[in-house]
C-alpha cells in the first residue's frame, strides 16, 4: 500500500518536472519586489517581497481585492507606475534583462512590442476622437513598422481575429459607436498587434456584462493558445480564475498569501484568506429553498411601460428606447425579489420607477393598494418614505461635504422630525448597520466603500420604509465586503420586517439573497420564478445563457456550502 503510494508520488513528480522542463523558459520572473507608495499613503509599500514567475504559454492569475497591490507589479513590468510610486527592491527579469534597470526609452521600446496590456475600462481606454483603425495602426507606428497602408490592412486582420462584427465598418468607427465588449476586443487587438510574448490583462472583464465577460474570457484563452503567448491576468474574481488560470497568485495587503497551481488552489486552498475569498463566491451554490409566505402583496406592478425619447426636434429623427415594456410583478411582504439583467435591460429604470425617481408612461404601481404612479405633490410626499433606495456607487451617492449623520438625518428632517431627534436616530441607525454612533460626526471620505454602503443603508432606513430598492447595491464592492453587506441586508430585513427589491447584474449575488428572481432583457421580463427554479430549471434560453456565462460555474471549486 505504502509502496504503491510512493511510486505514484514519484511518478507524478517526474512527469511534473518533465512538463516543467518543456516549458522551462520562464517569460517573466519577479523577484523580491518592493514597490514604495508616496509618503502619506495608507501603507509604506504597495507590494512587499513579491516573487512569482510567468512561464511560456501559461495564464497566470494574480488575484486580490482592491488595495491588495495586485496591479502594481504589472504596472512596474510595463514601466507605467503612477507618479511618486517606484520599485525600491528586487528585480523583474524579462527576455534576459532587468526591467527595473531600463531607461524610459528602452522600456518604451518593449511596450506594445514584447509586452501588450489590456485594461479594465473599455469605455474610457480608447481615445474618443480617433477612429478605431487609426488607434490600432498607431501600435505599428510606435515601433516603426509597416507602411500606413499595410498598418490599416493589419488592423483589419486583427479586428477579424478578435471577432468584431462587421470589421470593415468597425475599423472606420469611433469608439462611442461600439459596445463595451466590442471596445474591449479592439483593445485586445491593439495589445496583440505586434504579437507580444507577454500579455498583461488588468481586470479586463470586470466592467462587462456576464455574457460579454464569458465571450472575452474565451477570446483571451483562445488567442493565448493559438499564439502560445503568456498571460498575466489580474482579477478579483475567483470565478474568472477557475475559468482560465493555469496558476494563481493570491495577494493581500501587498504580500503573496498563496501561490500555486490553479486546480490545487481552487480545490484545496491552504491560506485562510484564500479560503474566505473562494467561499465568498457561491459559484455552484444553488440557492436554498425558501418558504414564501403567501400574504397579500406589498407591491404590485401591473403593465408598466416607460419609453425614453431623445428629442429629435428639427435636426434629427427622435430616438426611442423602450426601457420597460409591459412589466408586471408582485412582491410579498417580507420577500426579497431579485431583478436580474444585463446593462440596457431596463432593470434600473424599473427600480427608479418604483421609488418614483422616474415617472412611468403607463401601468400601475400599487403599494399596499395605493397607486404610487398616480400620486402627485403632497400625496406623493406623504407616501414616498415607504419606499427607499440604496444606490450603486457608495462613493458618488454621498455628498462629500455633508457629515454622515446629517446625510442620514436629512430625510427625516425634511419630513418634519426635529433636527436633534433626527440626528439621534441617525446615530442609532449607524449603530444598527455596524458603524457605531460616533460615525455621525465624520465625513464620507473617512470611510471605505463597504462602510459607505452601510451608511447608504442607514440612510434608506431612516424614513422607516416598508420596501427597499437596492440598485446594484453591492456591485462596486469587493467580494468579501459584498458578503458582509448582503448579510447585513438580510439581517435588517428580518429584524425590521422589510421587503427588498434587489436589482443586480450578478446572478451569483442574487442567488445569495433573493427568494424570487425576475430575469429581464430589453425592457421585458423574460422569466420569473423562485430562485431555486431559476437556477436549477431555467425555462428560457436567455436565462440559461446567463447562467452558463457565470465564470467558474463548471469548474471544480472547494465546497462552499
Amino acid at each position: 500500500m505504502s509502496v504503491t503510494t510512493g511510486s505514484v508520488t514519484t511518478g507524478s513528480a517526474t512527469t511534473g518536472s518533465a512538463t516543467e522542463k518543456q516549458s522551462a523558459e520562464t517569460v517573466l520572473s519577479i523577484r523580491d519586489l518592493n514597490i514604495a507608495l508616496p509618503k502619506g499613503a495608507d501603507r509604506a509599500l504597495a507590494v512587499e517581497d513579491v516573487s512569482y514567475e510567468v512561464k511560456r504559454g501559461e495564464i497566470m492569475c494574480v488575484v486580490g481585492e482592491s488595495g491588495s497591490g495586485k496591479s502594481m507589479a504589472a504596472n512596474a513590468v510595463m514601466g507605467l507606475l503612477p507618479k511618486g510610486v517606484h520599485a525600491t527592491q528586487g528585480e523583474i527579469l524579462f527576455a534576459g534583462q532587468n526591467l527595473l534597470a531600463l531607461t524610459e526609452k528602452q522600456h518604451r521600446a518593449l511596450r506594445g512590442l514584447k509586452i501588450g496590456m489590456i485594461f479594465q475600462e473599455p469605455m474610457t481606454a480608447l481615445n474618443p476622437l480617433m477612429r478605431v483603425g487609426a488607434q490600432i495602426a498607431e501600435v505599428f507606428e510606435a515601433h516603426g513598422q509597416l507602411t500606413p497602408k499595410e498598418r490599416q490592412a493589419r488592423a483589419l486582420e486583427l479586428l477579424i481575429e478578435v471577432g468584431i462584427p462587421q470589421p470593415e465598418k468597425a475599423i472606420r468607427a469611433y469608439p462611442f459607436e461600439l459596445s463595451g465588449g466590442q471596445r474591449q476586443r479592439v483593445i485586445i487587438a491593439m495589445a496583440l498587434a505586434l504579437e507580444p510574448i507577454l500579455l498583461i490583462a488588468d481586470e479586463p472583464t470586470t466592467a462587462l456584462d456576464v455574457t460579454t465577460q464569458a465571450q472575452i474570457l474565451e477570446l483571451i484563452r483562445d488567442l493565448q493558445q493559438r499564439r502560445g503567448m503568456s498571460v498575466m491576468f489580474i482579477t478579483h474574481d475567483f470565478g474568472v480564475v477557475a475559468e482560465i488560470a493555469n496558476r494563481v497568485c493570491v495577494m493581500r495587503y501587498g504580500k503573496i498569501v498563496e501561490l500555486g497551481d490553479a486546480k490545487s488552489v481552487l480545490e484545496n486552498p491552504q491560506d485562510a484568506y484564500t479560503q474566505a475569498l473562494i467561499a465568498a463566491i457561491p459559484s455552484n451554490a444553488v440557492p436554498p429553498h425558501r418558504e414564501t409566505s403567501q400574504v397579500a402583496p406589498l407591491l404590485e406592478i401591473k403593465g408598466l411601460n416607460k419609453v425614453f425619447r431623445s428629442r429629435g426636434g428639427l435636426f434629427k429623427p427622435a430616438r426611442e428606447v423602450r426601457a420597460l415594456e409591459d412589466v408586471s410583478l408582485t412582491l410579498a411582504r417580507g420577500e426579497t425579489v431579485g431583478i436580474v439583467g444585463e446593462s440596457g435591460s431596463g432593470k434600473s429604470t424599473l427600480g427608479r420607477c418604483v421609488v418614483r425617481l422616474e415617472h412611468p408612461d403607463s401601468g400601475e404601481l400599487l403599494l399596499d393598494g395605493v397607486n404610487l404612479s398616480q400620486l402627485r405633490g403632497d400625496a406623493l410626499r406623504r407616501e414616498r418614505h415607504r419606499v427607499q433606495m440604496i444606490f450603486q456607487d457608495p462613493y458618488a451617492s454621498l455628498n462629500p461635504r455633508t457629515k454622515v449623520g446629517m446625510a442620514i438625518a436629512q430625510g427625516p428632517i425634511a419630513n418634519g422630525t426635529p433636527k436633534a431627534a433626527a440626528l439621534k436616530q441617525a446615530g442609532e441607525l449607524l449603530d444598527i448597520v455596524g458603524l457605531g454612533a460616533s460615525a455621525v460626526e465624520r465625513f464620507p471620505h473617512e470611510f471605505s466603500g463597504g462602510q459607505r454602503q452601510r451608511i447608504g443603508i442607514a440612510r434608506a432606513l431612516a424614513l422607516n420604509p416598508e420596501l427597499i430598492v437596492a440598485d446594484e447595491a453591492v456591485s462596486a464592492l469587493d467580494v468579501s465586503i459584498q458578503a458582509q453587506v448582503l448579510e447585513l441586508l438580510e439581517e435588517l430585513k428580518q429584524r425590521l420586517s422589510l421587503s427588498l427589491l434587489f436589482i443586480t447584474h450578478d446572478l451569483r449575488v442574487a442567488a445569495q439573497i433573493c427568494d424570487r428572481i425576475v430575469v429581464m432583457q430589453h425592457g421585458r421580463i423574460v422569466e420569473q420564478g423562485s430562485a431555486e427554479q431559476i437556477f436549477l430549471a431555467p425555462r428560457e434560453a436567455y436565462t440559461q445563457a446567463l447562467l452558463n456565462a457565470i465564470p467558474g460555474r463548471e469548474a471544480p471549486v472547494a465546497a462552499t456550502a
Binding site: 511596450r111 474610457t124 481606454a125 480617433m130 510606435a142 469611433y174 462611442f176 483593445i187
Partner: protein, 326 residues
C-alpha cells in the same frame, strides 16, 4: 447634407432671435430719457417749438410708437438702418466703413490669443511643477488680472513714447501717402500695440484653460493605453492629450469670436483706432440712437453667426456630436 440642413435650421432660428433683439433694442432706446430732436435743437441753440417739431417730423419721431417700430423693423429687413441723426449719413454705410478696421484688429487679436494661449498652455502643462511652468502661469495670471486700458496706456508709454518703436495711435500714418506693400507694413505696425493689448487677456484665459484641460486629459485611461503601445511622449501629448483637451477651448474661442465687433471699445478708444468700437462710443455720447441701434444689431448678428460656427467646429472636432446631430 447633414451639415446643410443643420445650418439652414440654425439660420432660421437666428432670424427669429434677431427679430426679437431688434424689437428689444428699439424699446430699450425708447426708454432712455430725452429725444434726439430735443438734444439736436438744444445744441443748435434754438429752443423754438417750431424747429423742434420740424426735426421730429423729419426723423419720424412725431409718429405713434407702433408706426416707428414698424418702419424700423421693415427697414432693417431691407438692410436699411435709417440715418444717423448726427451725421446725416446712412447708418449702414457708417458701419460698413468702420467694420474692416475693427475686424482687422479683433481678428488679429483672436488668432494671436488663441495660438499663443494654446502654445503657452501646452508648455505649462508639460512643465508642471517646474519653475518654467510656474513662470508661464504667473505671467498668465498677471495678464488676466491687469486692466486692459492700463496695459494699453503703458504699452504706448514704453513702445511709442519711450522706445519709439511703434506708432501710438491710428490705423496708418496720415499724410504719408503709402500704397501697396508700404501701406500694409504701415498698417501692420499700427496694429501691433492694439492687437497685442486686446489679445493679452484672452491669451491668459486660453493658457490657463489649455493647461488645466491637458492635465485633466493626461489622467484619462486612453493616455495609459497610448503609453502601453510604446508611443513617444511627444506623439501622446499631441495626438491624445492635446486633441481631447482642445474641446473646451473651442467653446471659449466661440465666445471670444462673438465679441469681435463690440469687444474692442476700450482698445479702439485708447489707440484712436477708427473702428466700430469708437463709432459706438461716439454714438453713445451724442445720443445718436439710430446709429447705436444699428451697431447693436450688427454685434448681435455676429454673436449668432459665431455661435453657429462654433457648433459646427465642435461637431467637426468631436465625432460624438456629429453623430448625435445626424
Amino acid at each position: 447634407m447633414v451639415y446643410a440642413r443643420l445650418i439652414i435650421m440654425r439660420l432660421l432660428k437666428a432670424v427669429v432671435v434677431l427679430f426679437l433683439i431688434v424689437i428689444f433694442n428699439f424699446f430699450l432706446i425708447q426708454m432712455a430719457p430725452g429725444d434726439p430732436a430735443a438734444i439736436l435743437a438744444g445744441e443748435a441753440g434754438a429752443t423754438d417749438q417750431e424747429f423742434l417739431n420740424q426735426l421730429r417730423e423729419r426723423f419720424g419721431l412725431d409718429q405713434p410708437l407702433y408706426v416707428q417700430l414698424w418702419r424700423y423693423v421693415s427697414g432693417i429687413a431691407m438692410l436699411d438702418f435709417g440715418y444717423s441723426y448726427r451725421l446725416g449719413v446712412p447708418v449702414f454705410d457708417l458701419i460698413m466703413a468702420r467694420l474692416p478696421a475693427t475686424l482687422l484688429l479683433t481678428g488679429t487679436a483672436f488668432v494671436l490669443s488663441l495660438v499663443l494661449g494654446i502654445v503657452a498652455g501646452s508648455m505649462a502643462a508639460a512643465r508642471v511643477k517646474k519653475p518654467s511652468g510656474s513662470i508661464i502661469m504667473a505671467l498668465a495670471l498677471l495678464f488676466y488680472a491687469t486692466p486692459l486700458f492700463w496695459v494699453a496706456l503703458m504699452s504706448v508709454v514704453v513702445f511709442s513714447v519711450y522706445l519709439g518703436w511703434l506708432p501710438a495711435y491710428g490705423l496708418y500714418t496720415v499724410g504719408a501717402g503709402h500704397t501697396g506693400f508700404a501701406l500694409a507694413l504701415d498698417v501692420a505696425k499700427h496694429l501691433v500695440l492694439p492687437a497685442t493689448t486686446l489679445a493679452l487677456f484672452f491669451m491668459a484665459i486660453y493658457t490657463r484653460m489649455t493647461r488645466t484641460s491637458m492635465l485633466d486629459a493626461a489622467q484619462q485611461d486612453y493616455v495609459k493605453t497610448a503609453r502601453a503601445k510604446g508611443l513617444k511622449p511627444s506623439i501622446i501629448q499631441r495626438r491624445h492629450v492635446l486633441r481631447n483637451a482642445l474641446l473646451p477651448i473651442i467653446t471659449l474661442a466661440g465666445l471670444q469670436a462673438g465679441q469681435m465687433v463690440g469687444g474692442a471699445i476700450l482698445t479702439e478708444t485708447v489707440f484712436a483706432w477708427p473702428g466700430i468700437g469708437r463709432l459706438m462710443f461716439e454714438a453713445l455720447q451724442q445720443r445718436d440712437y439710430n446709429l447705436l441701434l444699428g451697431i447693436f444689431f450688427f454685434s448681435a448678428a455676429l454673436v449668432i453667426v459665431f455661435n453657429i460656427i462654433t457648433d459646427l467646429v465642435y461637431s467637426l472636432a468631436d465625432p460624438r456630436i456629429k453623430k448625435g446631430a445626424s
